[in-house]
Subunit: 283 residues, 6 copies
């Protein structure tokens, strides 16, 4: 009987979210342990398929740094990094495209399809979706590393209207049609903005944003986030993620989530429960 | 953490039902304790509003015997019953109509609206919805007690298309336009059939159908049900309920449920969990 | 031959009105002799069915004072009136609801359906249609007597779109969900305004508005009506009716009619002939 | 008061016809006195405009024998007739086309437009509408006189969908694209069949079909009509008209009317009153 | 092989025009040699049918001066001309209507239909399309010669929507419904403006607009055209044609073309090749 | 002038094809010189963009054998071939996927987009589009080489509906979700069948099908093709291409073309001229 009451309570908690999010777009940056661990991969795929099945519109943007590194190594080619960005010459870029577009992307499509979802892989070159200029870091030329200047969401919309989950590799093109490597978090944020998504979810390998006392902050306004960055509480790799979330909120995305991808079904829990499993940023 | 896993599991259990039932019609016979107890009333209303909010189409059919009895008594008028059916002369029928259509029906509409649902009350006379002939029991004339011969679902559809939950009082009209009292279970079944509903749910004051050992039978085929009636395991007041369910199944209703209205949120639990809270009859 | 010329002339007079009013909404306040006399009742029902059949959208709002009084009397409960308004305690309100919603409303639905029309009964509580606050008269508390503050026409539209004639009992709800008795003329006027109706027709037991010489005024502007009220030519019970019409005109209702319900087919004659049978108010 | 009752009765008689015929097509063969007399012309035009205004779809097919004769005479060209059909050489046909298509047709368009209708003139050549073969009478070659073999109603439908009354001159084309003169009654009948019209109305200069005692027959079945022809009661010029009506009925036209065009507003009276002003043929 | 390259180049030249003009309206003034010479007539008809077949919307406006003259002569009636305009009394107008509407128009319809096109003939009176006032030249009354004041394109649109090529005779009506003769170039220009056509094409018997050195000017802006008129390089009969084009451009017509109708397939060449066969005027 | 006549003739030849093929699907197998030569690549891309721009629906299926070979070589991995099929172990398949999906496919997308087309790259895994079983040759296990058993065209349709040209890499999945290499001609044929395409075009490095005298056969029926295979006139690598065409025709594809990709604009010439540039097979 206690069991029934618990079940009923969880349903009563979840149903209003379902009502609210039906037909809405959720852009999910997929990476880290959730992508490397087999159990977490299966959990991710099931979450995506369930979201889709009840009428939400998940859009997946993935990274693939480790896989790119492994292939480069196999080809006997080493990489230099500047500020965490891989210096990308033409030969490296060819490998990036082959690994992201031809391997990682397709594997995620398969993963979703093995759980009876239907997915279509895209890269940011398809339909000229992700438009970039070359990114310079302290005036240093990193080669084919791009900064996103615009996103044309029409290929994503076409695929979504067809009933599929779009899975997107973070590659962009410049005005001359030259492809560039782009950061996956940044790509997810820009796509969420272009789609006026309801949610942007960044799957990470940390619990979420922490306060000074290293305690998880479950909810955060853009303003508070700015303050935590300024005072140094949010630092290092978390800064670009939080900034990406803030930019999304400012462009009309309903909410942004930095969640712990090491928890099973973290997406479902974040979307359909009051507590969630990470940090929710909203205006 | 255990809590999160539980939540995720319940969601994973529930979401496929949501997917499956979106846009589907669920006809609910409302009565008994669920109608007389304030806590259960609130639980019922919330369940109905949640179903509606996530895209199902609940249709409520209610009884009102106790309220009719109370008003008749207040007017100093006594009733005779034959086989559980109230002998209904013209004066009694006028009271039946006033109590069911003018009081009970409106109170259920209010109950749903107080939980932010939107409901519209109807009687089976509206649009000539419930068409009846006089019911005779062993050739005895019970007055204006009707047997349903046809249901025109168009008024229910109009109200549902408008975004409202229809709440229906079990009154029917014969070919001459004379109103008759009809049994609420029978009305719910006939309406479910006319709407080709996905589900017919009868809310009762018992746990469900029991087997010989008085243990609850969670699932039952039409065939098995016939057998349990024949062998006398299903008996008395449960017989017409089960027969009403079987008739619905035979006319294309997806499943029929006899559930325990004394459990909080019994509707949600029956619709969205594998176990449910009563007996599910299907073909 | 003379007969044919007459017929042709009446058709030539009527057809342009038919063209003009097709698809338009006509809100009719039904009451008085037209409701108590059997021949007039049949004439009213036929008029409504004919209007509907050629593509107009009649909406009926009814009163029921005499029937409420009779039932209260039968229950041994007397009423006090202040300025023509029945002081309405909870017990009285229960009777009002039962009589208006459970008896009078249903009888009008039947009346229309007996002439092959299709009607659906509603009260102002359905879908929260008629929203009220308590009406105070000279600061005196009359109990559950409401002043209309808003009308949500969506339940009426749902029923009309479904092909039915809505028949509406003048009951309203306040913000707390408590029901109140409202004046039927006022309800008809507020509904006409919410629907941006083409016409508001008040069926009365007088010929129409009279001038100083007690001659019927066939046409009247809002301005002239104000003047006749100011100078005392329009007085007593006619004042609220005329004011209700003026308010409707000011909110975009095309025209308002105060007609003589004692004339057979008064609605048809008012709508489809140049002369009409009462007073037409327009801007 | 008597006047009001009369008006109401005529409306009650007419409204069901309006309901029944809304959106329906009525093909009218226009000719005779109704075309030559100024008062009757005005009456005809008003009837057509009123039919159109309340949602019927009138289609006019006209003759023009007298006008053709007058122009030929003016050009000093005489005609021979065989069985009432004008022997039509190329020069005559050129005159037929100019008079029917360039003069008579345009005058009818103007006539309708002067009463605020909107009309478009067509000939049977437009869009290859009326397809003919040469008509032979007792093996005699009458020149360019056609027998209708098919009607493609799409130009009529295009014009009607645009909101116009089509006015059609009875000219047809054969497979080689050569134009031919066709009988206007026959053209009206064939067009009514191709449009599956509700009604075919032939405006004549007689009262209608007469029985043996020379009394008007208000209603006639196809079978009875055949009998009256066989027994010689229907004879001469009335035979092809009646046969044209029968053929229309057999192809699914709802009813066919032979009416007296000398009566003012004969079309309105035939369409909207029980009695009508001629003979109604139906299956 | 050379042949294949040529073909490919012509296709590559033509396809972008096809893409650009699909669904667009092209108003063509038809007259001169293209109307009198049998080979050119066939070429014209094929061009129109091909334009229509690939999704453009050709609209034909024709003249007929020579044919009117011939018929008037045959009737022994002479004409006076003032500034190139035929003084038009009632009797002359009757002939104009019969010849333009009953003969020339129908022949063009046939011409198009013989090449498997589908055409419908209209005059400017149909649906009150071309509205005129009387044209006065130096205060002289020329009788029924009209100046166009407005064009209602709805009859053209109805015919085009139905899949037909509209063929329009240049006759207009004044407010009193009196028909007038109008200039065909002027009618084509006014119709192009009313339809917001993509192109206005005037088929002439000259090469196009010439410069001072009598060389063909392939492209001309409205401004340059004004200058050429002012300096006297464009003169006589070319002035009204160029002014008609300029007026069209100023009302939103995309481009106006004065082309040489003596060249086979001049319409196709002008529409689908870069060079064209006359003078293109654009803003 | 001769030039104008030539142009007109080519247009008159081409326009009916444009009419006929608008909205129709053309599946093009792209490979060979047309893919390796820069001028031919540009010509291909322009043809595809022009087809799309005038309303056809081109679908591109590409091969990539040489590029796969080059990458394998670079990785120091050699391949064995059986009957022209590459024996494909898991490591080879990973390279196939990366090269086809991540490099060749994306380059074709870019090629089209550089000519202002809009393309989206897909593989046969997307949406489970190309379903395969393992292909055995003489019972020899070639590893992950697939035989197509079904094509689900919905991802192609989604992309086409979105306004993009789909570019498809020939990779398939089996029931267990394992990817396989498939032959590009076979993939193009199966996709054409699933889409009920109007045309299947195989771009080759030969002139087309030759007869015994080694002369090009411009048109061939399925029956004649079978005969030429049986008698050994069609042999070697041409046999599977012709069989692929025949299978397409038998499944309702309108026509199949084996064309010479070494000719500039071979696609345009084949689609829009009577002669074409290869062999057309039809039923």
């Amino acid at each position: 009987m206690k069991d029934l009451i618990d079940k009923a309570e969880i349903l009563i908690e979840a149903l209003p979210y379902i009502r609210r999010f039906t037909g809405k777009t959720v852009v999910i940056k997929y990476g880290g342990s959730a992508m490397s661990d087999a159990t977490l991969r299966a959990s991710f795929a099931l979450d995506v398929v369930l979201l889709k099945s009840i009428g939400l519109r998940p859009v997946i943007v993935h990274g693939g740094g480790p896989q790119i590194g492994a292939t480069l190594e196999r080809l006997g080619k080493s990489s230099t990094f500047v500020d965490g960005l891989r210096v990308t010459d033409d030969e490296t870029m060819e490998v990036v495209e082959m690994v992201l577009g031809g391997k990682v992307n397709r594997e995620i499509v398969d993963l979703i399809q093995q759980r009876d979802g239907r997915a279509v892989g895209l890269t940011g070159c398809d339909g000229g979706m992700i438009r970039v200029t070359q990114r310079l870091v302290a005036d240093r030329d990193l080669g084919r590393v791009g900064r996103i200047v615009a996103v044309d969401p029409s290929p994503i919309i076409a695929v979504t209207e067809g009933g599929f989950v779009p899975v997107i590799a973070p590659i962009g093109v410049d005005d001359a049609g030259v492809t560039h490597n782009v950061n996956a978090d940044e790509a997810a944020g820009a796509i969420a903005r272009a789609l006026r998504a309801e949610k942007l979810i960044l799957i990470t390998d940390v619990e979420g944003v922490k306060d000074r006392g290293r305690r998880l902050v479950p909810r955060l306004s853009a303003e508070e986030a700015h303050k935590l960055i300024d005072e140094g509480t949010i630092r290092d790799g978390m800064i670009p993620k939080v900034e990406c979330c803030i930019a999304a909120l400012e462009s009309g995305v309903g909410s942004a989530h930095i969640i712990d991808g090491r928890i099973l079904h973290s997406i479902l829990l974040e979307v359909f429960t009051d507590g969630g499993v990470g940090t929710l940023l909203s205006c």
